[in-house]
Structure formats: C-alpha cells, structure tokens
Amino acid sequence: MVISLEDALAILRKWKDESTSILVVAESPFRQTLRGIEGTGVRWAMGQRVRVSQVLPSVEERTSKGIIEFEGHAGNFLSLAIGHCRIVYGDPREASPENRAEAEATTVSALSIFFPDEEGFHFYELREIT
C-alpha cells in the first residue's frame, strides 16, 4: 500500500518512541525485488540492524525534506531525506505464500522507501523474540 510522507513519518516516530529493532536492507538500483550484489547491474547492497534515532521535522510544509536518521549498536548509521520518495507500507500477511510463514514469524511490518534515482531501502520492524 502506497502511503503519504506524513503517514510514513508517523510510523517512524512510533518506531522511535518504542525503540523498535529494525533491519534495513537496501540496494541500488532496485528492481521489483531485492537481488543482492549478485544481481545483474546491482552497484551496491547493504543490510544493517538499526533503531530510529531522529525524525525531522514535523511535516507541515510541502517543501519538507522529511529527514529520518537511524543508528546501530556498532557505530553504524543511516540518514535519509525522503521528501521526494515513493513509500510503501507492507504487512507480513501480504508476503508471497512461500515466504509468508517466515515473514509473519520475524516481522511485524515493513516500510519500503524508493528514491527517484532507483535506490530502494526496505525497513523491517522486527518481532521481539521472547
């Protein structure tokens, strides 16, 4: 489901407030599905465990850049300006039949952020293992 920048920032603020554990997987260029560095034409691919550290600023203007920042436990970080991105919210129940069981067991939801320059960043809200 494609969502607005405001809705995406609301989700990210919730993840920040709840200190949600997130797996981000990204690659460029992104085509339909994640392919990894072995995929034809993929220039870079990465995966990181992070939490949301900042969501800036509140979106009240159309010109807002919608900046979000993530930090990991080993000094890793990721910052995005998502004001011009296409953003898709996903639910593990929407995963393909062959992946649905694993998706439901490991993730609560997912947010995919696509830049006009073809980079795709996929944020998986990880389920707490108790």
Partner: protein, 130 residues
C-alpha cells in the same frame, strides 16, 4: 589525492582485508558537493558502517573487462560494492568528516574514495586504534 586504477584499488582493499584493518565506510548520494549530511541541500541519503573488509574479488565480467567486488562486514551489518565501473582516488593522510561524532577509540589514517558514475560515492577510511 591520487587517482587509482581498479587494480590499485583492489590491491589496497586486499591489504586491508589481509591485515584485518578496521575501516569506516561512508556512503552518500549525491556526492556532487563532497561529503555532507542529509540536512544539507542535494543529499538524499548517507550511511556509515564500521567494520573490516571481508571479501575482495575480481572476475571476468560479461560487459566490462573486469568485475571487482568488495564486501565490508561489521557486527551490525554488511555492505557490498560492485566497483568495476568506478573511479578511485586515494589520500594517504586524510581526516574524518567534521559532521561525524568524534571517536575516542580510532583515528583515521588514509582513505579510498570510490565514485560511481551515478553520483553515489563511498569513502573507505583506514582506522587505527589510538
């Protein structure tokens, strides 16, 4: 700053791999105005990963004459680059960008710039424990 061939860049990366040198990798799009934060104009995203070089490979590519690949790993994630169509430069004495948090544990020695034709760029900083 010294411009390097793919072979020279792979030699440096292989040396860092063989010696398990700690590295900090910064990535950014766009790099037109140098390393900056996403709060500044013209930067869509940036990322940082502190770890080591875990794989360096080169093979005969189907389109370009050689396909070079490098993988970085850290306790928090990984980053893979396919670098055969990149431009490289090396600085034997460089400093960490001012917008990064200071690091009491490591100081920066040299750095390798990896520029993609798409304006994405990655900088690999060779670190040394203080």
């Amino acid at each position: 700053m010294l411009l390097l061939s793919l072979e020279d860049a792979l030699t440096i990366l292989n040396k860092w791999k063989d010696e398990s040198v700690p590295v900090l990798v910064l990535g950014q799009n766009s790099f037109r105005q140098g390393l900056r934060t996403v709060q500044e104009r013209g930067v869509d995203w940036n990322t940082g990963l502190r770890g080591t070089v875990s794989q360096v490979s080169v093979c005969q590519g189907t389109i370009s004459s050689k396909a070079g690949r490098v993988v970085f790993e850290s306790p928090a994630g990984n980053l893979s680059l396919s670098i055969d169509s990149c431009v490289f430069s090396y600085d034997a004495a460089c400093e960490r960008p001012p917008f990064l948090k200071s690091d009491e544990q490591f100081k920066v020695l040299s750095c390798l710039f990896i520029f993609f034709p798409t304006n994405e760029a990655f900088v690999v900083y060779e670190l040394k424990e203080r």
